[in-house]
């Protein structure tokens, strides 16, 4: 997106306090005392899911809990894979999420910038109307939305999952808030130099906004990835199902096997996790990269 090296570690915000003020030094930073327990709390549910996913069904219902399964039952995973057309659902989900992320990044950047920086007629009212769409529960509007999408001839196609999600109020709101925190002086200088609004957005604002854009990308990805109610009502054909819909749909009543469910969960999380690690460095870039300040 922008030139310059990406520094993975943020520069500490607060200066390291001068040694004289700190008194006796611990052999390690005192922050570990806070961060280590936090890490445990955050990880335990996930680790437990991983453990359960390779247990037998009986081991998942044992007390005291079984920490080390009799054997790593990887067949839970193969059984889940055999259960359903996973690869097809995976591909569908990938198409839908990629398109939604791309649409949101582009359209929400444009709109977010307009709402943040350009004074145009009706700006406040339109912005509030956009925000208003966040305030009505989806469960209430899903039937009218269905009828609109149906009129567009998209029911039971991936289009039904993509087009309504190409831009959302969340992205507009997020980027507007972020753009407003950027120093305006840079943009004003560029304006004096005769740069167009769109030029400023793409050459100055967006390169500075990698953390916010990455956040929007991940959030959009997650929503599309997780959504189940909307695909449930718009998709009929198994071949057009997404991963989450497939999992939910095929998890019939009275046949819930905790270990298989956990295996399915782990698998559905893996791709997001990988993407997340790839994108993580964009969230926490050092400000050094911008090199545009001062």
């Amino acid at each position: 997106m922008s030139e310059g090296t990406i520094v993975e570690q943020a520069r500490p915000l607060e200066l390291q306090a001068a040694p004289g003020r700190r008194g006796r030094r611990l052999p390690f930073s005192p922050w570990h005392l806070v961060l280590f327990p936090t890490m445990l709390i955050m990880l335990v549910p996930l680790l437990w899911m991983l453990v359960t996913s390779v247990q037998t069904l009986n081991e998942t219902r044992h007390f005291p809990p079984v920490f080390v399964p009799s054997r790593v039952h990887l067949e839970n995973y193969t059984q889940v894979l055999r259960m359903a057309p996973f690869s097809r659902w995976f591909l569908n989900t990938l198409i839908v999420t990629t398109a939604s992320v791309a649409g949101n990044l582009l359209f929400c950047s444009l709109a977010g910038y307009a709402f943040a920086r350009i004074k145009f007629f009706g700006r406040e009212v339109v912005f509030l109307l956009v925000l208003a769409t966040l305030m009505i529960p989806f469960q209430v509007v899903m039937i009218p939305t269905f009828l609109i999408v149906k009129r567009l001839g998209m029911i039971d196609t991936l289009g039904a999952l993509i087009v309504p999600n190409l831009a959302g109020a969340f992205g507009v709101f997020l980027l507007r808030q972020f753009f407003r925190t950027l120093p305006i002086e840079l943009e004003e200088a560029a304006r004096i130099d005769g740069a167009s609004r769109i030029g400023i957005l793409f050459k100055i604002v967006l390169p500075l906004s990698a953390p916010a854009l990455a956040t929007l990308a991940v959030v959009t990805f997650m929503w599309t990835w997780n959504d189940f109610l909307w695909p449930l009502i718009t998709i009929y054909n198994e071949h057009n199902m997404t991963l989450q819909l497939g999992l939910t749909t095929f998890q019939g009543a009275h046949q819930t096997n905790t270990n298989l469910l956990m295996a399915a969960n782990v698998m559905s999380m893996l791709p997001v996790l990988l993407l997340f690690f790839a994108a993580q460095r964009y969230f926490i870039r050092g400000i050094a990269t911008s090199g545009l300040k001062g």
Partner: protein
């Protein structure tokens, strides 16, 4: 930023491609009639318990071979989600031709003319033999005097118990003459907190799963849910209190495993692993107990030793209107599919109870008991299905009120009389609203 323009182009192209794939597939004037059918009581293979799907596909294939003018696409749609999915489809005129529907959905579906009224078709065709279906099934397929569905599945509740746990506790196994007192005493003896062992599993989410188990007990005690014209709650009668008292006694003795999320299969898993003495359930659950040495016994009785009534949850095939050609084709299929010759083959292939009484006498039905151990008790238990839940639109609300009352007692928050009186007051309020 050229890259994002490229991405946009790809997006537009993909959306375009995705959009052209749609379109309503209907009858073409020359080709065969295309029907869409939603079914969803078990997922398609290769999931282990997909006997129903395999059997259905086989029969559909057979039908379309002898009826080349009809083509049927079977789509798996989880029954729990079927109504949620159907509502937008009906609003958008995208309804399938044939769907599997829970019996409790019939009253709501009765509100739309898109549901095909089958009354005349059934009455004008003597060979269809409507009265061959069990009375409980026929009631559950009828709303407002119209037959709106053909029975697709019938089940009923009985007590499934763990023989080993009974033996360990030195208890005699339940007999066909047993009473609720016997059950309560056994449940208390089977309970051992140290071993994480409970006498009886009972659903406590207050949903229809809770309510229908209680309703069977209510009928055994001689009570009823509503009065004859469905305008007033009767469940807070002395019979209602009698029916709720065993649950209260077991709850107070901590002999119940209360299952707050019954759809997640916790009770079934725990019964299978030998942590639970008894579970009130239907034939569909037996496949979930491969490790438990179980027996099946009919429901216990209260004061009247002959009253071992149970409750059936009959589900239906419902036909939706997509024009006369498709309706006729759909009826043609449903009629064929629910005829005794097909019902018996379906039962033998899946272990599901036969939806028609005559099937039990067919030679092809012999060997069912051996093939599906324990299911025989459920087949004969169909005789104990006397009453059905009211098929009125307000029933879900009445059920919700009643469910809260049962859960209150299970959690010790109220005694049976108070809880039922409150629920009855709530239900009467709902029933007073004109529909």
């Amino acid at each position: 930023m050229r890259r994002s323009l490229f991405v946009l182009t790809v997006v537009v192209a993909m959306v375009g491609a995705a959009c052209t794939g749609g379109g309503n597939q209907g009858a073409t004037p020359t080709g065969p009639v295309e029907l869409v059918m939603w079914m969803g009581y078990t997922p398609p293979p290769p999931v282990s318990q997909s006997l129903e799907y395999i059997s259905l596909k086989k029969l559909v294939g057979e039908f379309t071979k002898t009826h080349p003018d009809i083509r049927i696409t079977v789509r798996y749609t989880n029954n729990d989600n079927s109504l949620i999915k159907l509502k937008p489809a009906l609003q958008g005129n995208k309804q399938p031709d044939i769907t599997y529907q829970y019996g409790t959905n019939i009253a709501q579906l009765a509100g739309t003319p898109k549901v095909v009224d089958l009354t005349d078709r059934i009455n004008s065709d003597a060979s269809f033999d409507w009265n061959d279906f069990w009375p409980g099934e026929r009631t559950a397929a009828t709303a407002g005097g119209k037959v709106l569905g053909v029975p697709a599945l019938v089940d009923n509740l009985a007590v499934v118990y763990n023989k080993d746990l009974f033996a360990h506790a030195g208890l005699p196994e339940p007999t066909a003459e047993w009473t609720w007192d016997d059950l309560v005493n056994a449940a208390i003896k089977l309970t051992d907190p140290a071993k994480k062992q409970w006498g009886l599993a009972f659903p406590a989410d207050g949903s229809e799963t809770t309510v229908w188990e209680y309703e069977a007990m209510l009928w055994e005690a001689g009570g009823d849910i509503l009065n004859a014209d469905n305008t007033k709650a009767l469940f807070n009668s002395p019979a209602g209190v009698t029916a709720l008292t065993p649950l209260q006694r077991m709850a107070q003795a901590n002999a119940l495993l209360l299952d707050f999320n019954p759809d997640a299969g916790k009770s079934e898993n725990l019964f299978n692993s030998g942590n639970i003495g008894m579970i009130i359930t239907g034939p569909w659950d037996l496949a979930a107990f491969p490790k438990a040495n179980y027996g099946v016994q009919i429901m216990p009785s209260f004061d009247d030793p002959t009253n071992h009534q149970t409750i059936a949850g009959p589900d239906n095939w419902v036909i939706f209107d997509n024009g006369p050609t498709r309706v006729n084709a759909a009826w043609e299929f449903v009629k064929w599919f629910t005829a005794p010759e097909q019902v018996v083959r379906n039962s033998m292939a899946t272990g599901d109870l036969p939806t028609r009484a005559s099937v039990e006498k067919l030679p092809a039905f012999q060997g069912f008991d051996e093939k599906y151990p324990g299911v025989g008790t459920f087949v004969s238990n169909l005789q104990n299905v006397v009453k059905a839940r009211p098929t009125i639109t307000a029933y879900p609300d009445v059920s919700a009120a009643l469910g809260q009352a049962v859960v209150k007692v299970l959690l010790g928050k109220a005694d049976p009389k108070t809880a039922l009186d409150q629920a009855a007051e709530e239900a009467n309020g709902i029933l007073a609203v004109p529909t």
